[in-house]
Amino acid sequence: MKLAAGRIKKPAYGAIILLWMIAPLFIGKYWTDVLNNVAIYALLGLSLNIILGYGGMFHMGHAAFYAVGAYTTAIINTAWGVPVLWLMPAAGLAAGLFALVVARPIIHLRGDYLLIVTIGMVEIVRIALINNVFGITGGANGIFGIDSPSVFGFQINGIVAPAHYFYLVTAFLAITIVLFYLLENSRFGRALKFLCSDEVAAEGSGINTAGYKLAAFVIGAVWAGMTGTLYASKMGFISPESFSFWESVVMFMIVILGGSGNIAGVLLGAALIIGLPEIFQGLQQYRLLIFGLALMIMMIFRPQGILPPKPRSYPIDKLEKNEVSL
């Protein structure tokens, strides 16, 4: 059973990757842009997955980190003209530092208390942006005139040529998937899963749970911040309404619906949550109603998420006999 599933899986993944790569050649600008949005939210979902999926922390304020990254990019780019892609590390760093500062005092809160505090965090960030904090965020207008990314001198305008942008964001998504896959299957990812499963036992096994929670927050924030760069440079302008509490809710739903703690699940979640409302565009004002119903139905039929994580298996059969000794 298990083996058969494994055998089907690999070609299936290959086919999906192939289809994804060639899709822009066939589907036109609009659906390409939908895929761009799916990819951006997949990145956000994957970054949130580190905190919510592996770490099990109820974090509903991820848009705050996304916003910090996007605004860092926008502010530096419009003020000094630094090319946007160079700003990706800066955006990640800014978001990571922000996460370090704000998550530090709240990391010990449990479940729902953490949930409301992270909601509060994203609201405070949004209000600060609207109120033009430090005089650099442009207030409710936001910031406009952000450059398009350019790769080796080639301008990638995400609005005008979604297909060009598609390959940029896909490249970053691919790198992210690989890195996060390695991270998941490492000492670090394991530690997060332990503390998610039983915090007391994890601490009692010698895992610095507070430290790992904080690290998860920072890594998730760094990635959300870098994704903020991609978003800002795609749209050309940003305003506070793109980073509302609802955006955080969307990311949250992507992770839980797709399968919390599973990379493939999160990717599927992004495709569904971002894709479905577009598929229902023809229904006009009924589309959100149908979307809400679809959410409920999917959750009821797959309470663990559509693709829940499988227990990890270890290559114990590959160990040589002489290695196994005290």
Partner: protein, 301 residues
């Protein structure tokens, strides 16, 4: 000082409504450990059903203003309570044994469904309650003008809350609810019909939210299909502030949140009002991680 007391009454009036909605969150949470994110939309439905009943039945014409309004509120509460039970059946019951966050997503889906249903049924425009049903006198306390309805709203909220508290603490059914909140399996073994308790909780909580909706409609006069989201978030904040799962906590949290908002807006900044409220919430939770009246459960190791 005059400013302070005026703003205190302003804050308490809003806080009373937050508290009433917060009770719905806290009751459901207490028994099911579930955050009913659709609760704010039940509040909206209460406001809209109140309007429909008011205009279609013309109760206030037949039996007089006050009696009509009271009857109306009771009817709206009943209907919203029933919708609450149906919501539980549709969105939460199938997920009782699932991971907690699955129910959160189902709740968010239900919230989208409910608010968009209201939009489709009643239209997206602002709807307006008929005016002049309630007295519009103004009291003067030490020379400060205080609209009498602010007192009535606050008093009505407090009466409902105290009523609920007495019901939970003093009656047999209330005891069953408390028992189910502590340990569902044990309660079941003691012969309590836990399913019935859950049904009751999903009736009372939404009914109180519906009452708040009618009050908001009657007093402020204007309702929109998106208002549940704003009020819901505030009320959820209030419930957490007081210690979720704790009924007096919801009352304290709601009133306190209203006062924090009013005073923060007055003495610090209006534009930053919500940020100030959340900031205070975060500070309180850092000091008291389970809210003001929440029990500090030291985990047994």
């Amino acid at each position: 000082m005059e400013q302070f007391f005026t703003q205190l009454t302003n804050g308490l009036a809003v806080g009373g409504i937050y508290a009433l909605i917060a009770l719905g969150y806290t009751m459901v949470y207490g028994v099911l450990k579930l955050i009913n994110f659709a609760h704010g939309d039940l509040f909206t439905i209460g406001a809209y059903l109140g309007l429909t009943l008011l205009t279609s039945l013309a109760l206030t014409d037949h039996i007089g203003g006050l009696a009509g309004v009271l009857l109306l509120a009771v009817m709206a509460m009943g209907l919203v309570g029933i919708i609450g039970i149906l919501l539980d059946r549709a969105a939460y019951k199938p997920l009782r044994t699932s991971p907690r966050l699955s129910a959160v997503v189902s709740a968010l889906g239900a919230s989208i469904v409910l608010s968009n249903t209201v939009m489709l049924v009643y239209g997206p425009s602002t709807r307006v309650y008929p005016q002049g049903l309630l007295p519009s006198q103004v009291f003067y306390i030490f020379g400060l003008p205080v609209p009498v309805m602010r007192f009535v709203i606050l008093a009505a909220s407090i009466v409902l809350m105290i009523g609920l508290y007495v019901f939970i603490q003093r009656t047999k059914i209330g005891t069953a609810i408390r028992a189910a909140a502590i340990d569902q399996d044990a309660a079941r073994l003691m012969g309590i019909n836990v399913d019935r308790v859950i049904m009751l909780v999903f009736f009372i909580g939404p009914a109180l939210g519906g009452a708040a909706g009618v009050m908001v409609g009657l007093y402020y006069g204007q309702i929109t299909f998106t208002m549940g989201w704003t009020y819901g978030l505030k009320a959820f904040t209030a419930a957490i502030l007081g210690g979720i799962g704790n009924i007096p906590g919801a009352m304290v949290g709601g009133l306190l949140l209203g006062v924090i908002e009013a005073l923060g807006a007055t003495y610090i900044s209006m534009a930053w009002k919500d940020a100030i409220a959340f900031f205070v919430l975060i500070l309180i939770l850092i000091v008291r991680p389970t809210g003001l009246l929440g029990e500090r459960v030291a985990e047994k190791i």
